[in-house]
Symmetry: C2
């Protein structure tokens, strides 16, 4: 067979891993009867890094974005620039030039997937994006091809390694949020500007990518309600642990008939749930399909070699033609309806909340009164410790039965205004009893 020539755009850590795997005599060569050749490395900023690779003479190093696209012998464009401006232009032009595309760029697909999938369909080409969610976990392939006969009922994902590392260290190491985040940065697990991760936006991007495959809808990113881990207090992790729960930042997709919920927020999971034990930088996705039942896929999410592995798998599939008919043949990549999501105020879950209550009689009755008026039923109450050293306020932890988000929000606003509550210390977490 003729060789498949690859142009690699972007040579950061994942790109370096991909380049190395393409240049070495490795498993890819052994498994694939068709040779896959690295033809171009396009890098506008990191020329010195690229030169460390010592690529052979037949690999063209360039900062000209268009050169590989004008080369008819290039078959696959691998976009690892990140960002949504240049990356978008590269993918658009690559498809227009008749190239297949591999990308790890969840932000790009979350914001412009609808447009890019349509371009791929029109061009008779394919976009492969296994590396965009969950590093080396084959969740995209599972939703794209394996569970095609399933009505996906729900999807729960731990898909941000940085957040999972921070939460794991807070719980297991007793660190405060800031300490755990600083440690993650030192370890290279968190960016210097961690906002995209810790505020949940990266998780929301990934949820948008997954939701299109799972539920066959186009998701406008701003419709996903998104709450990160910045407000999480280590005390709540301990109190929740005492109740048998672990806190995870989850991407949640649920379909029940016409009701579709997509949301990102920290959530308490029972310790026995498979996702509860996913620690550190590991990622996991739990999918329920009406035939396949519950399937859980776990692996390194944030690891660089893991993500490179996913990119290589995608390159191989494009080289083989595996994905050739996906964009013509799978409705998820065609014109799908915009997602009509259940407004966040109307979701129903159980709730954990912690109040700083004045340590005197009658306080609980007043809190319970507000909850009752808002139709929220209490499952358990625990006073966590006695007031210390003249401290008048004691933390009290409540678990509710299932209640409506809007009611819960309203009840907490009212409770926070009570003169027996130190409202600024109130913390609330949602509970996913899956």
């Amino acid at each position: 067979m003729d060789a498949c020539n690859v142009a690699l755009y972007g040579c950061g850590t994942v790109g370096m891993g991909v380049a190395r795997a393409l240049l070495e005599e490795g498993p890819l060569n052994a498994r694939l009867c068709k040779p896959v050749r690295l033809a171009y490395i396009v890098e506008t900023r990191r020329r010195q890094v690229v030169e460390q690779l010592q690529p052979p003479a037949d690999v063209t190093l360039t900062d000209d974005l268009d050169a590989p696209l004008q080369d008819e012998d290039v078959h696959v464009v691998v976009e690892l620039f990140g960002g949504t401006t240049t990356a978008r232009r590269v993918v658009q032009r690559a498809l227009a030039a008749g190239k297949d595309v591999v990308t790890a760029n969840k932000a790009l697909l979350a914001e412009h997937g609808d447009e890019l999938y349509e371009l791929a369909r029109q061009a008779g080409r394919s976009i492969a994006f296994e590396a965009s969610v969950g590093g080396g976990i084959p969740i995209i392939a599972a939703l794209r091809n394996s569970f095609v006969g399933d009505r996906i009922e729900s999807l729960y994902g731990i898909v941000n390694g940085t957040c999972n590392y921070v939460l794991t260290r807070m719980l297991q190491g007793g660190l405060e949020y800031d300490e755990a985040l600083a440690e993650a940065q030192q370890m290279g697990y968190a960016e210097a500007d961690p906002a995209l991760d810790v505020e949940g936006h990266d998780t929301a991007h990934k949820l948008a990518v997954l939701a299109r495959l799972a539920f066959g809808v186009n998701v406008r990113l701003q419709d996903i309600s998104c709450e990160g881990i910045t407000g999480v207090d280590v005390r709540d992790l301990r109190y929740a642990a005492a109740l048998g729960y672990t806190l995870k930042l989850l991407a949640i997709g649920m379909r029940d008939g016409e009701r579709l919920e997509l949301r990102v927020h920290p959530a308490l999971l029972r310790r026995e749930h498979p996702l509860a034990s996913i620690g550190g930088v590991y990622n996991a996705v739990c999918v329920h399909g009406h035939m396949v039942g519950e399937v859980v896929l776990t692996g390194k999410g944030a690891g660089r070699p893991a993500t490179s592995s996913a990119v290589i798998g995608d390159i191989a599939r494009l080289a083989l033609g595996t994905y050739r008919s996906d964009f013509a043949g799978l409705s998820q990549f065609g014109r799908v309806p915009d997602a009509e999501l259940v407004p966040f105020g109307r979701i129903r879950t159980r709730y954990y909340f912690r109040l700083d209550c004045l340590d005197r009689p009658g306080v609980l009755a007043r809190v319970a009164g507000v909850l009752g008026e808002e139709d929220i039923s209490i499952a358990s109450v625990r006073q966590q410790e006695l007031a210390e050293g003249g401290e008048e306020f004691v933390p009290v932890v409540f678990m509710t039965h299932e209640a409506c988000e809007a009611s819960m929000q309203k009840a907490l606003q009212r409770i926070n205004r009570l003169d027996v509550i130190r409202g600024r210390n109130t913390r609330m977490l949602r509970v996913e009893d899956i």
Copy 2:
């Protein structure tokens, strides 16, 4: 697009699930732009069952194995007969007639995969077999396509739901082996003749299928050393639990340079290992690749709808042409070398063993003497309980450091001959410290 016409051979429980999914207006129709049509149901024995389906008039019911193969409009043959005689003939003829094939038949692939893959390659057709291992867990797709760039270093699988159910019930319910097996049969999780499952042969079949994809070798079934769960004593599950271990029947594949081990046996896993918490009829496979790291896939293995889901996913991929180039393009399906396996006697693991020892001074010294002479180092010893009611023998549990299988076997033979040991009660289990 033209319809893809399917001939379904065999309408047992999985086949019924597949037929229903193809006949209903369901997710498959919604996701696939190409119509997939059930054209034939071939059933030689269960005509009455098939008639319950009330298939529409354009579905041909027949007991003629050749009719669908002679029909040029049939594109995909789904072999769910099971067994290795008729099934083999059907797959051979289907490929020769230019049909793509879906099968859930691990015994067939383990015994005749080499021949059938070669036929598919020559015919320019594809065999899809996601349903052959792990029900709806997409492990075949992961090894076949996703981890193509990875050198697979190890693979550990819980791939027999019957055995996992029996072991789970023994540990959690305190049942004896016979009781747990009888319960599994009552629940429909075990066959009336459970030998294929409980003696480990089904697991060995699945390991042979996985090993070819993971390690690129042809496996002769008789080369896989295989030990089932029939000799497992509930007491060892309890003693191991006290040491922090859980017992699972594992399919194990390990490659270290030229050393390749393939084996099936019960093994103790640390309770913290992801596979240790896989209970009941759930299956899981844990793969280590040099880039992707550790990936664990979990789901219902023995469930009928889960297996039907995998068959439907395969039909969809063949309808789309996803697998069109796999047999020409992936070396695992070409002429691969026969596996040269490390002889079982030369594997090295840690060992758990339990001896019934006479409760008197000097016994331990004699046992330890034999172990020392066989180069086996003891990691821990626990006397489990005092001799009761005049019973002279007490159970003593040993854990060793890593040792050689042949040495361990020899040591136990010698120990069992000691006059202070009731040799017939000796039990040994391997420990996988992964």
